[in-house]
């Protein structure tokens, strides 16, 4: 018998992955979320249009700021992260820009972990500097480094929980405490873990970012990003976030946090940042990612299982110098993995060959089944040499700090038959060893 005095048990992750945000279409009864390939939406009358433009009523105006296929995806990811609301963007990079646009002012700064995707290091260092937003990088291995870097102009802490290119896990909880004490939000990029493996809001994160291009979509067929807010951060606790707590001249003097409360950050992201910066997710891409997410739990289980097998195979191989996968007994991150990623530390990791740079590049050129390309989180197993590609724009020092030194090879273990993945690595390693012996 259901008890009305307390909340019912919330649906499980698998149920949410399939159903959250994806109720039948009210006008047609379509059971799957349709692709609403429409730029605009008719108004009932002038007053209705005015209400929509004033944000006084809920509804669609123009696909740049909202679309029914995209919003189904936004609600689904917000539900999977147990957050309050989400704003989707064209890519993960756009999601980072959108989040920072809400928080930052010219002359302000944020603190970031050094262990990031190389493209994010470049975005934070060079492109954001053109907006007057400064990023201070710290080694996340010692959480106090974040505290030491905070000053009166610091607006946020940013980190990747399971850091790209692989193997490194940041101890989230103490960093969340530092952010809370400083009155600034902790932003966690949860792309490489996915919400199935890690739930950063449970550990004190305030904002989660995804490149949905990766495991969420999961099939290497659509770009997308998203910013999810927990709804628990008090933006009015200090004067650091005027764009949320002061009347907005870009919106007729509306005060977003006061008016929209626990989804004020997302409303600002949609009504101002998406409107004025324009990095909208295409409905077709939202549809592909929605379809991908329905099988996220099944895929992640197999990704982790295959990654563990590949990591163990590589660690035992005579040509391999080291393997950095938090599922291995040799990993210094094994305990953090058990805490933050109890279902497994993902399927993206790095390893180095005894033959160094030459052997690494030879390996990635010798694979036949595994794909040599710049992406991760596909059904297909992917391999890359970060120093010459994803982390190429970084200095040598930055590359080493990011875990992308000259000998590093990154692998994103896919869903092919495990014996076939290992057989391909086996022949490619033989080839790399033979070439090194020449």
């Amino acid at each position: 018998m259901a008890d009305d005095r307390k909340p019912a048990k919330p649906p499980g992750f698998e149920t949410l992955a399939i159903h959250a945000g994806s109720a039948p279409d009210p006008s047609t009864g379509a059971r799957n979320v349709p692709i609403y390939q429409s730029n605009s939406y008719v108004f009932d009358d002038v007053d209705h249009a005015a209400s929509l433009f004033n944000l006084q009523t809920f509804g669609y105006i123009y696909t740049r700021i909202g679309n029914p296929t995209v919003s189904a995806l936004e609600e689904k990811v917000a539900a999977l992260e147990n957050g309050r609301a989400g704003v989707a963007t064209s890519t993960g990079h756009a999601a980072q820009m959108l989040a920072m646009y809400i928080l930052m002012e010219p002359g302000a700064n944020f603190i970031s972990s050094t262990n990031l995707y190389g493209g994010s290091v470049t975005q934070f260092t060079h492109t954001f500097a053109k907006f007057g937003w400064n990023c201070k990088f710290v080694d996340p291995g010692e959480p106090e480094n974040f505290r030491d870097a905070i000053d009166e102009n610091t607006k946020a802490i940013f980190l990747e929980l399971l850091a790209n290119p692989g193997g490194v896990i940041v101890d989230l909880e103490p960093v969340a405490d530092i952010a809370r004490e400083a009155g600034i939000p902790l932003i966690v990029d949860n792309t490489t873990a996915s919400p199935y493996l890690a739930q950063p809001f449970d550990w004190g994160a305030d904002i989660i970012i995804h490149s949905m291009t990766k495991f969420l979509g999961g099939h290497g067929n659509a770009m997308g990003g998203i910013v999810v807010e927990s709804g628990r951060f008090d933006w009015a606790q200090n004067d650091k976030f005027p764009s949320l707590t002061q009347p907005d001249p870009a919106y007729h003097g509306l005060t977003f946090y006061e008016t929209f409360g626990d989804f004020g950050f997302s409303t600002k992201g949609r009504a101002v940042a998406l409107r004025d910066l324009g990095p909208t997710l295409a409905p077709m891409n939202a549809y592909l990612i929605l379809t991908g997410i329905e099988t996220l739990p099944l895929r992640m289980e197999r990704h982790v299982q295959n990654a563990q097998a590949v990591a163990e195979y590589l660690e035992a191989h005579p040509a391999v110098a080291w393997v950095s996968y938090a599922g291995l007994k040799s990993s210094p991150y094994r305990e953090l993995a058990k805490k933050y990623l109890p279902k497994g530390p993902g399927s993206l990791f790095t390893f180095g060959l005894k033959g160094g740079y030459e052997a690494g590049t030879s390996l990635v050129e010798s694979v036949e089944l595994i794909s040599h390309l710049a992406n991760l989180g596909d059904t297909k197993t992917l391999i890359i040499h970060p120093a010459s590609t994803t982390h190429r724009q970084l200095t040598e020092e930055q590359r080493i700090a990011a875990g992308a030194g000259p000998d590093v090879v990154r692998i994103s273990v896919g869903l092919e038959t495990i014996d076939d993945i290992i057989a391909d690595l086996d022949q490619a390693l033989d080839h790399a060893m033979a070439k090194a012996a020449e």
Binding site: D4, K6, N54, Q56, F58, E75, G261
Partner: protein
């Protein structure tokens, strides 16, 4: 304080069956939250009568503003309170006097003693919620803005009111 919980069916029934709402603390300023809520509820077919002593006699969204609940010359089913929590008790007393059936306190507004008094008199009390947000959540409209409604359904219609 004990966490507040109201089952969806209860909120849905209030929003379905209520027609006349007095909004205490309705602002005449278009970019204030109470104005947003009033306009939205009107669009959904509710009659919303604004109460605000500083705007007495003015016309707000087509309705005359009254100084107090007792000045409203017609029956009120629900009183929606847009006031600081410490100002709730006298509003609840007035709501009891005029025979309202439901007292609804807005997000962040909560007064447990006043609520107990109203409930003892047979009224239904909702605290720390917004009827606009709840309407949007249960009808699915909130999801149009990427907000997590926490509503999972395989049914086609989430319609709350027919008007």
């Amino acid at each position: 304080m004990e966490a507040l919980y109201y089952p969806d069916w209860q909120i849905r029934r209030i929003l379905r069956d209520t027609n006349t709402i007095a909004m205490v603390g309705a602002s005449t300023n278009w970019n204030r939250p109470s104005y947003f809520a009033m306009k939205y509820l009107q669009e959904k077919g509710f009659r919303v009568i604004p109460v605000n002593p500083r705007a007495e006699g003015e016309i707000l969204l087509g309705e005359t503003v009254y100084a107090s609940l007792k000045d409203i010359p017609e029956p009120i089913e629900m009183v929606d309170i847009f006031q600081r929590s410490d100002r709730v008790p006298p509003v609840v007393d007035e709501a009891l006097e005029i025979g309202a059936k439901i007292i609804w306190m807005q997000l962040t507004v909560r007064h447990d003693e006043a609520a107990q008094k109203a409930e003892a008199a047979g009224l239904t009390v909702i605290m720390d919620r917004c009827p606009k947000i709840e309407f949007g959540r249960l009808s699915g409209e909130l999801g149009w803005s990427g907000i997590n409604t926490r509503v999972i359904t395989s049914r086609r219609s989430k319609q709350i009111r027919t008007h």
